[in-house]
Amino acid sequence: MAARYVSIWFRYLKTDWCSLDRPHLKTVPFVLRAPSHGRMVIVATNEYARAKGIRIGDVLADARALVPGLEVLDDVPGVWDKLLRRLAEWCIRFTPIVAVDPPDGLLLDATGCAHLWGGEGQYLAAIQNGLLNKGYDVRVGMAETPLVAWGVARYAVSTLVPAGQNTEALLALPVEALRLEFEIADRLRRLGLHKVRQFISIPRPSLRRRFGTEFLRQLDLALGRESVPLEPVIPIEPYREQLPCLEPVLTLPGIEIVLRELLDRLCTRLEKEQKGLRTAVFKGYRVDGKWVQIEIATSMATRNRDHVFNLFALRFSSLEPGMGIELFILEAPKVEPYAPQQEKMWDSSGGLDDVRLAELIDRLGNRVGASRIRRYLPDEHHWPERSIKLATSLQEKPMTTWPSDKPRPLQLLDPPERIEVTAPIPDYPPMLFRYSGKLHQVTRADGPERIEREWWIEKGRHRDYYCVEDEDGHRYWLFRLGHYDDEQSSEWFMHGFFA
């Protein structure tokens, strides 16, 4: 059987993808831009923008002059390879061998597949309609060699080359259909060779002398004299293990045995692939048709069976077996690469990188909620409430040192509490203040330390902070909001307690 290849050309891959969740962009001229050499250049256009004469590589300012109401979005680098890969995985329904053909195409080995759709015409139509329903405008070419399929998808009127007519189809294609480098294609055109037909009969030695071996290789690829193996996309099998039971499981020991068995299988696979799980779901399908599940999450990737088991064990109480569970499924929806750690002989280092600490945090987090376990890093703000930020992980290191030049209270009230104060003006510390129903006599005081509002974040009045001590020896952090003013009476607040 002759080999058959299908090439899919996404004509407006990037703009189609961008308009998937922005339907209003589907009917207006729309481009993607990216900076290049200090100016904004268009990297993708949609159908309407193209019809108005905007081409990829144009400067954005020129395009805006051409089309006043042009919609512009920023290009997102790095997404397109993933997108193509996802589309390739989707196309596995048409043939088992699908390869990504960057920058804007897919290549399918369709040998022996088309009859299942009732013929090659229907096969191509099915691919085209399927992708059209997903929101992508494609042209699909089919031929005996990948290169001709690529060529007909992009340059021919009729995109289906019947078996045995590969060479004829190639002859009618323009030189660009051979995927040549720009210089070679340009040289061919300048010599007046616009179609493959015009130079196919020229002796090979003279072609090699003029256009190089690469050119001949492309020609051989097109004619099927040479071939390049495809690199098929292999979809990642979901991390999922299941265990049907002969008899419905009712008891806790039974469930524990099942979970250990499933965890063992899952972790063995994770070990092979050097991965660790971040979340896991344990589902039970009950005899009465309902299903129950418990979920866990870990703070760093793990494949420690006992640790994951213990995390699940905390949730067993919410797993109701009812009349009995007959099918168990263990899934790991989120996995991460996880290199095996070198076993230490003396693991007494402690510190934030310790695995035992991460496991403790998981156990605590699964009961009280992971968001309630917090670690702080210094942030470069002088406004007290913003001077710390939450760390995203246990391993995150502080970017700056902890400031210790200014006195800060060990306890900070959030929000500050309003107090009544007697203070001599201007700018003297308070003499008396009333806080939570008690009158405090100030014996010593420091200040003021003025902290201005960070105007680029929020508006408001500045704070003048005083550290004061009362006659009992308690130390407080007070502030006055704003200046002494005729219109507004000054407002005082209690903001914290020193040690």
Binding site: G350, E359, I373, R374, P409, A445, V468, E471, A499
Partner: protein, 237 residues
Amino acid sequence: MQVSTADRIKDLRAHIMRLEGFRPASGSWPGTGTSSFPWQSFPVGAVHELLCSEMTDLSPTAGFIAGLLSHLNGNKDVILWISASRNLFPSALAPFGLRPDCVIFLDAVRERDVAWAMEEALKCPALSAVVGEIRDLDFTASRRLQLAVEKSCVTGFVIRKNPRTITTTACVSRWRITSLPSASDDQLPGLGFPVWKVELLKMRNGQPGCWIVRWMNEQFIEERSHVAAALGERKAV
């Protein structure tokens, strides 16, 4: 060689204390070298109880714990601070010699999660200390904490915020820290270094004591001049 009965009992006592997780710590703090502590030094690997009858005692108590921990720990060790209503400001731990990014805070929603989390955490040898703000700690709960500590040798601090009743607990010691007017050597105006009255109300295998302590240059410094006054005051009470 004849070993006297007294020596033998002393050895046995030391052995029991080791089984209970006691370790003498190095460093200097109030009461070092006196008979207040077993082995004349602050015991780590045990659970200490600190009373805070009033909300104003909370800051000096937290400062005292932070000061102790900075001496007990290396610089890298991790501390877990468990609370159900926390106001502690991490930045302010830096002057007490702790690295605030090595302190992990657990803000529990319910009071009973604090005791549970504290017990779990005390079992983890990767931590160097666990501080829990627990209002009511009964004897059974404190026994559980003590049992957890005996295996892992983590130091635990229980801050009793506004306790309703003060009952017997299995904690190794009971402290009360209150603040006193701040001190400066050269009569400068303004606030000086923080001064605390540190009362050791109970200590297993040790004697109670009372010290006036100033926190200066990341160290505890005993205020000799205050002692007489404070002791007099204590007698009056």
